[in-house]
Subunit: 199 residues, 2 copies
């Protein structure tokens, strides 16, 4: 990129470093920022710094928060006795969008993956066990992804919890609502058949 | 978005305000920033402020620069006698990527568009005329987009320049290299036929 002023080039490089943003999009975004009102650009820059500074993990559920204990954990309206265990904070957001689940969460911040050198100690499993000692939990919903790592992590945790007499459940697998059977992959179709329910 | 910490929500909103970034991408980008090393996030925020503060229009060609006169205008290696007139700074970048054009540029920052209330005075035409008085220019290449506004602007400027005895040229229209004839639109095919060249 010859003859591009350095500050513009830098901004373009920062955008290009974001996931899913190619060289052309980065250029477009940088120009958009240049065209923004001064105030908005300042706000944008500050929101990066502020988010980076104030967001950390909730000390109870490990979800992201700017407080010591997150709003969900602190809410007296949420059911303490059910904990939905997810891989990352984005999964919490997905569930919260439903506005259906009224229990609490536990964010593992990763999945067990020996090939990537991630063992049970690298994810927040001990924090979950600690919670179970402190509160009376009736059910743990394992809501990790239906991948090898997600399955392995769900299995590992469910085995850990069995002796504690806590009910451990897993999200249902099956064909996605609104999809077409002919395009379903074999494993999904298999699961759907295996877990069929009486009408 | 209930139960999303405010600083994170703000960051997501700023990303979502960018062109081509939807709600899901904005979320992904915000999480990516949270996972960045502290230093990189700081750099990113600063690059926004710095670009916003230091980038302005070159006083000669109106292209973006962080200096008084941009690198292209200041370069003694570039040919002063040919000026390529474009709509915006992104078009300059497109030409510079070619590394073929060795003349100078003039950025109009818009096109004449009566429907949008943009007349000749709202774009940088008088700055171009001023340049022509000060330097000995042989050729003006009109490189505005092949749209109604681009054409109208090219026509308007060429009529202004005719009396000055400067050669005004226009980018060639035709079928794009590597494209398929059967998918070419009628106007393009028409132009390609009209402007056919002897082999």
């Amino acid at each position: 990129m010859a003859n591009v002023p350095v500050p513009l080039k830098k901004l373009m490089e920062h955008f290009a470093a974001l996931p899913g943003v190619g060289r052309k999009s980065a250029q477009r975004l940088a120009f958009f920022v240049l065209d923004m009102p001064e105030e908005q650009a300042k706000d944008f820059a500050e929101s990066i710094l502020e988010a980076k500074k104030s967001i950390h993990n909730c000390k109870v559920c490990q979800n992201l928060t700017d407080k010591e204990v997150c709003d969900i954990c602190a809410s007296p309206q949420r059911d303490d006795s059910v904990i939905c265990v997810v891989e990352n904070p984005r999964d919490v957001m997905a569930f919260e969008r439903l506005q259906e689940f009224n229990g609490k969460y536990h964010v593992l911040h990763g999945l067990i993956s020996p090939l990537d050198g991630v063992g049970p100690d690298q994810i927040r499993i001990k924090e979950l066990l600690l919670r179970l000692q402190q509160t009376d939990v009736q059910e743990i919903i394992m809501a990790t992804n239906p991948t090898i790592e997600g399955e392995a992590t769900a299995m590992y945790i469910s085995k850990l919890l069995k002796p504690l007499g806590i009910r451990v459940t897993r999200l249902a697998f099956g064909i996605p609502v609104g999809s077409e059977l002919e395009y379903a992959d074999n494993s999904t179709l298999n699961k759907a058949l295996e877990n069929r329910v009486t009408m």
